[in-house]
């Protein structure tokens, strides 16, 4: 019983901590990915704005 209990205890500990660390790593990767995406979209917005400004200047001339 004691030996068997230890096996299940170790298995349960492994499940808990491995699951939590995998989930934490998953969240970190998702945050990184969305930050990269946000930076890219912001760059796109700036390009779009510059283009519109150029068009407006051309039309004024």
């Amino acid at each position: 019983m004691q030996g068997e209990g230890v096996t299940y205890l170790v298995a349960a500990y492994a499940v808990v901590w491995v699951a939590l660390f995998i989930y934490l790593a998953f969240i970190t990767m998702r945050i990184r990915a969305v930050r990269t995406e946000l930076a890219a979209v912001e760059e796109l917005v700036h390009e779009h704005e510059r283009e519109q400004e150029r068009k407006a200047q051309t039309e004024t001339k």
């Binding site: 019983m1 004691q2 500990y13 499940v15 934490l24 969305v34 930050r35 979209v41 796109l44 917005v45």
Partner: protein, 250 residues
């Protein structure tokens, strides 16, 4: 990230950021503190659970599973309460930030309830001689797991829309009924599952050393839960900002 430091805000970017506050470029201080405390708490809890707490005379070492089975169950249930409260406030105020909290609570809650079910099975095998039994406590907990899955599937299917947020809020409010049923199941029905170790309104049914180890684990898991909530909330916030910006150029 360099763009975040620019001071000249144009209209679409201003709309995306003004609606939801400034974009965080690094972890908030509270998040760093919670993360550090969780890490220290984990180390202390492992020591307390495996070394400090005495071995149970009847159940042996398998009883030590309970030191993280109980905190996981507590957080799985607490998380659903957070989800329901955030749903109520969202329906009342129509503020998207409450929906982010609900989504974060659902995602983290399902992790803790899954851990609860797995560790419960791992405890049940040596103690009851079976991985699973259709006991009232186990069955109601499994129902909560299914409600979480239903919530996440519904939100995934309906996307980031107000209708999806409203439907999720309603599901959360209806689903929270299962939480008190889980808690009271051991009193309402004859079950194999042990009685509550921390009954509300009466003294704990545990020796002091075991109680201390359990309290340490409860505190650590709660800190970890708060840390994870902040991370997932930040993720939801950044995702919404990216979506709004993308919509502004399309």
């Amino acid at each position: 990230m360099a763009l975040a430091n620019r001071t000249t805000e144009t209209k679409p970017r201003a709309a995306a950021t003004a609606a939801h506050g400034s974009r965080p470029d690094r972890l908030p201080v509270v998040s760093i503190v919670l993360g550090a405390l969780s890490l220290v708490g984990m180390l202390v809890s492992i020591w307390a659970d495996l070394i400090y707490a005495p071995t149970d005379a009847i159940e042996g070492d398998a009883q030590r599973i309970f030191y993280f089975h109980v905190p996981s169950a507590w957080l799985g249930m607490l998380s659903f309460c957070v989800l329901a409260v955030a749903g109520v406030v969202y329906l009342w105020k129509q503020d998207e930030r409450w929906d982010w909290i609900a989504r974060a609570a659902a995602e983290i809650g399902v992790v803790f309830i899954t851990v609860t079910l797995i560790t419960g099975s791992l405890w049940g095998r040596p103690i009851w001689g079976t991985w699973w039994t259709w006991d009232a406590r186990l069955t109601t907990t499994l129902i909560l797991w299914f409600i979480y899955i239903a919530y996440l599937m519904l939100r995934s299917y309906m996307g980031h829309t107000p209708a999806g947020a409203r439907a999720g809020a309603v599901l959360g409010i209806v689903g929270v009924i299962d939480v008190p049923i889980i808690y009271e199941s051991v009193n309402w029905w004859r079950t194999l599952h042990p009685q509550a170790v921390l009954p509300i309104g009466s003294s704990p049914n545990l020796p002091p050393q075991m109680l201390l180890a359990l309290m340490l684990s409860l505190a650590t898991f709660t800190l970890l839960y708060c840390f994870l909530m902040i991370q997932v909330y930040q993720f939801q916030k950044l995702q919404t900002q990216a979506r709004l910006l993308r919509a502004s150029v399309e």
